[in-house]
Structures are given as structure tokens and as C-alpha cells.
Amino acid sequence: VKNKPFIITKRDFLRVAGTGLGAGVAAGVMPFRPQPARAALSGTVNLVTWPNYAVQENLDSFSAKTGVKVNVIVGSSTGEFQAKMQIGSTGWDVLVANNLSVPVFKQLNLIQEIDTKRLPNFDIGSVGKRYMGPGLVEGKVCGIPKDWGTSGFVVNSEKAQAPTSWKEFFDLAMGPLSGRVIIPDEQLSAIGCALKYFGYPFGSVDAKQLADAEKLLMQVKPHLFAINTDYQPPMRNGDAWLAAAWSGDAMQLNRDNKKMVYGFGKEGNEIWGDYYMIPQDTQNPDAAYALLDFLLTPENNKKEIVFTGYASTDSRTDALLPKEILDNPIIYPPSTVPFEFNTSAAMIDAGRAEIYARFKAA
């Protein structure tokens, strides 16, 4: 669910700035191909992930250990990953995307089954059932959990009272906090929160419920400060006071400013996980497995968790984590908060996609 349309566009822009729009589009469609694997563990492994989501130290140690160069490709949304893999010839070897995309990508034959025997440092038994479940497609391992997180909202408590529900969140946005609220630029979260206003499920694809959500979104749009996934700068700057947010961003904001408080709606909140996947047409499967195995080694996985601020799925990693992370309610929220997973149906639903596109274009 951690989609970042804002950031990818920056990347796209960098391409565009150098080579012109046409070349930028071409580059988007045809990223460079990696060197083909000559022997076991050589060449390059192309790791596709979210911005600020891979620990450079881990990648450097992997390269030093194996001689395989890691090329990090930053992406913005699962939709973008899907679009690029459907076009083909991505050259991607390891992909990080959310729980919802695992069954969709597998069904579209974009990713392959993962042979856990080739991952000696991974122990499926130490992964919580709640997290391993979404990685399985028809009982086969197609995604391996990287971490999990939640969606809620961040409020600048110096400026505004924290809402206690999604209903309050939107009523504040259209009332006293008009011009100060941000909704992330991402279909699942934006429509999901709006559905919660009426008490509907996050992952609803029901036409009537979606129509209600669309009406609310259209009403709130003129009152929003921005529809933007890069909500940290305006929150830090004091331009915006309340934002629907992911736990990792909330942790980073709260770490730097204790006035930034993470809260949840009492109607329910989203829980999600990110998963490692191996694309169907990887050119360097040996290196892909080696990189996965390296990152899933508890000592290395711990560094990923500490860096990103999302919670671990592996009890062996939990055992290594410092107490302040395990006790941080932003990362590991209290069990009293209601959570639900979103649905893959919501991710691929044409109706939701079109409603969101209309909301953006309004």
C-alpha cells in the first residue's frame, strides 16, 4: 500500500530533463537491460523498490561479499510496477511491492514461485502466519514478507486536535482545518479512508459504496491543501496540519518533532505488508536468490527495519531489535486498534481506478 507516485515522477523527470520528453517516455518503457548472467553470482542484480526503502550498507556488503553489483530502481506505485512488467523487458530481478500485488502479479504471470530451499537464511516458520498468508498464491510461496505497517493519520498537535475517527478526519478537513489537510496520492488509501467515513470496508468494490466515497472526495477536494504522497515536507514546514499517512512516515515525523502525533480512526485502519518477489523474466536468478537470502538474514533484516521504521515479520529479527523500536506504538500499534487488510480486488478494480482518476482530474 506504500505507493509513492510523487517520487517516481521525480525520477522520470530526471530522465526527461536530460533527454527530452520523448526520450523520457522511451526510457520509462525501455529501462536498460542488465548484463546477462555469465556464471553463478556475477553481473548485476536489479532491485526494484520504493524510495528510501533499501539500506545502502546492506547492498554494499552484499556486493563486497558476492561481487554482484546491485542496481536500485525506485518505483512509485504497484500500478506502475504492473504496467512496466506487462510491457516487458524490464530486466528486474528482485521486486518489492505490497501484499495486494502478490496474487495479481502471479495471476498475470509477472512473478515466479520462490523456491525457499534456495534461501538457507530464511525460515518460514519464524514468520507470523498473518504476514506469510498474503505471500502465498494457491499455497505456493510467491512473495516473502519484508515488513508490515499501518495507515492512519499524522496530526501536528500544536496546531490541531487529533481526530478520533475517519468521519472526524473528513469533517475537520471540510471545516476548521480547511486548507490544511493532505490526502496521499494513491487510490487504495484515498478511497479507502473515504469509504471508512461511512463505515464501509477499505477494500470495497461495491458500486453504491464507491459512489458515496466519490461524492465525499469531490466535496473535500477544494478544502485539501494537497493530494500528495510527499506529505512530509509540508507537514514539517507547517503548511499542512493533518495528513492521512503511513506509519513509517509518521515514525520519521514524530522522531524529529514530538508534536507530530500518529492516530487511528475508530472505524478501522489499514494494515499492509511489503513483499519480496522475483519477476518471471529475471535475467540473473542466482543473484536474485542470493540477494534475497542476504537481506532475509536476521542481522541484515534488522538494519532494514531500523532504517525504514516499518515493523518486522520475522520473530528472529524481532529478537535482535532494540527495545525502543519494539515499544514504539507508531511501529507496533496497540492491539486495541482495529485493523484490516485491503483487498487485491480493490487494487485492480476498474471502477475504483476511474473514480480516483476523476477525483484527481476534478
Binding site: 523527470f13 506505485s77 504496467a83 514546514n237 482530474a361
Partner: protein, 286 residues
């Protein structure tokens, strides 16, 4: 191979690389986009073949994006031209040779850093702690600039100004100064000389700069994203969303085809009438 044929063969050979590139990277993809625009969205997103006009009939759903783009792109171009002309005039006609190259380099200097960084700087400048805070101190009250059409307009003028200044400068620099002397000798006032000699000579530069800025602005999606905060939506943003978020490629193709058609129409009208009536040679343009 006869001697008469050789020059033609040479010409063909020399043109071949560019021709191949244009064919495979412009004409062929454009045809693909055209074909896709009559297709349907596949159930999981993407394209599936069909023959339907529904994508074109659905265009009004993106009407606001067309309106935003078709307002802010021409406006940005016009204001950029207005701001650029005096600067280009100064650089070409009034500036000492010693300063000219320094100033020209300064015009181009922003291009040496990432556009991204400059947009982030503008987010700070236009954010509540920037210009609005200064305006508030002067008693203008609480004004929001960032994430409004004004922010996008300011960003457009800033970002594209050099692309406008340089062509105008080039056309003014070529101006034969003896014409100005002759005009003065024949009794024309400075204003009349400007109106009848300087300005018409600069028009090809204004036209080239305007086309450059207008066409780039029409397709821009980064500027509205950064300075419009998702609230000022361009056709470019609609395209990014349709291809990458909602993955409705056929509708995206239809929007793309319409954008190209609109641009062709506007550029055609512009070349034909604006330049045709100015009395300048159209060859200087393209």
C-alpha cells in the same frame, strides 16, 4: 550506379539514421497509440483489442485537465515572452560586450542544476513561510500561493524563461544595425524604428521561443505536480495517472491523441496566421 544517382544515394544514406529513428521512435509508436485509443481496458488494466469510440466520448471526464492546460500553458507562454523580450533586447542591443557573455551564462545557469531541486526551492519560497509570510507582514492577510494555479504559473515562467530569452536574443543579435541608422536618418522616431524594424526582426525569435515554451508546457506534468500539489491538474498528469495508476491505456491513448491533435491545430493556426500577418519570413522559424 551512375554518377547522377550518386548524390541522391548519398543524401539518402545521410538521412537514413535520422529517418530510421523517426520511423521507429515516432511514427510507429504514434500509430500504436492511435490503434490503442480505439481499444478497451483489459480487466486487470492495460489494453485489449476492440473497435470503440467510447474512449473519445469519455474525454469530457478529463475536461478540467484540458481547460487547466489550455489556460495556463498559453498564459505562461505569453507572460514569459513579455518578461523575456526586454531582457533579450538589453542583452542583444544595449549590453556591453564585456558583460554580455557573463549575463548570457547567468540566463542559462539554472539549467545546470536539477529542475527538481529548483521546484523544491519554489515549494519553500511559495509555502506559508516564504512569500506569503512577507505579504502577511505587509498586511495582506493569509494568502495561499503553493498548490494554486498561481504557483504553477510562476513556476512555468521561471522554468521556461531561458528557453524564451535565447531565441529572441539570437534574432535580435542578427539585426543589421545599419537599418536602425538608416531609419533614424530618414527621420523615424525611436519608437517607430522599434515598431517597424526591431520588433519585426525579433518576431521569428518570439515565435520560436513561444512554440518551444508552449509545446513543453502543454505536455508538462512535473511542474503542476510539484507546485500544484495534485490540485492543479494538467493533461500530462491525466496521462501519468491513466497509464501508471489506473492503467487504462486505451483511454490514456485517446487523451494523448487529443493532446497531439490540439497542439497541431494551435501550432498550425499560429504559424499560418500570426506569422503570416507579421510579414516575416516563415523559413526563419523551422
Amino acid at each position: 550506379m551512375s554518377m547522377e544517382n550518386r548524390p541522391r544515394t548519398t543524401t539518402a544514406l545521410l538521412l537514413a539514421p535520422a529517418g530510421v529513428i523517426f520511423f521507429f521512435l515516432l511514427i510507429l509508436p504514434s500509430l500504436v497509440v492511435l490503434v490503442y485509443s480505439f481499444g478497451e481496458r483489459a480487466p486487470m488494466g492495460g489494453y485489449q483489442p476492440a473497435l470503440t469510440f467510447s474512449n473519445y466520448l469519455n474525454l469530457p471526464a478529463r475536461g478540467k485537465a484540458f481547460v487547466n492546460t489550455l489556460t495556463l500553458a498559453p498564459l505562461g507562454t505569453a507572460v514569459a515572452a513579455l518578461f523575456s523580450f526586454p531582457l533579450a533586447y538589453f542583452l542583444a542591443m544595449r549590453c556591453s560586450d564585456r558583460w554580455r557573455s557573463t549575463l548570457l551564462i547567468m540566463v542559462m545557469a539554472p539549467f545546470w542544476t536539477s529542475q527538481l531541486l529548483r521546484y523544491y526551492a519554489w515549494i519553500m519560497i511559495l509555502g506559508s513561510k516564504g512569500i506569503p509570510a512577507w505579504l502577511a507582514m505587509l498586511g495582506f492577510g493569509d494568502i495561499q500561493l503553493i498548490n494554486t494555479p498561481w504557483a504553477v504559473l510562476i513556476g512555468a515562467i521561471y522554468a521556461y524563461l531561458p528557453l524564451m530569452v535565447l531565441p529572441i536574443y539570437v534574432s535580435l543579435e542578427k539585426l543589421d544595425r545599419r537599418l536602425l541608422e538608416a531609419s533614424a536618418d530618414l527621420g523615424a522616431s525611436p519608437w517607430r524604428t522599434f515598431r517597424q524594424i526591431t520588433f519585426p526582426s525579433a518576431l521569428p525569435g518570439v515565435a520560436a521561443g513561444s512554440m518551444l515554451v508552449f509545446i513543453l508546457l502543454m505536455g508538462d506534468f512535473v511542474l503542476p505536480l510539484f507546485l500544484g500539489g495534485g490540485k492543479v491538474f494538467f493533461i500530462g498528469n491525466a496521462l501519468v495517472d491513466l497509464f501508471l495508476q489506473s492503467r487504462n491505456w486505451p483511454f490514456g491513448s485517446a487523451v494523448g491523441v487529443s493532446l497531439v491533435a490540439i497542439m497541431f491545430f494551435i501550432v498550425f493556426i499560429y504559424m499560418r496566421f500570426v506569422l503570416g500577418s507579421s510579414g516575416t519570413r516563415r523559413v526563419a522559424l523551422v
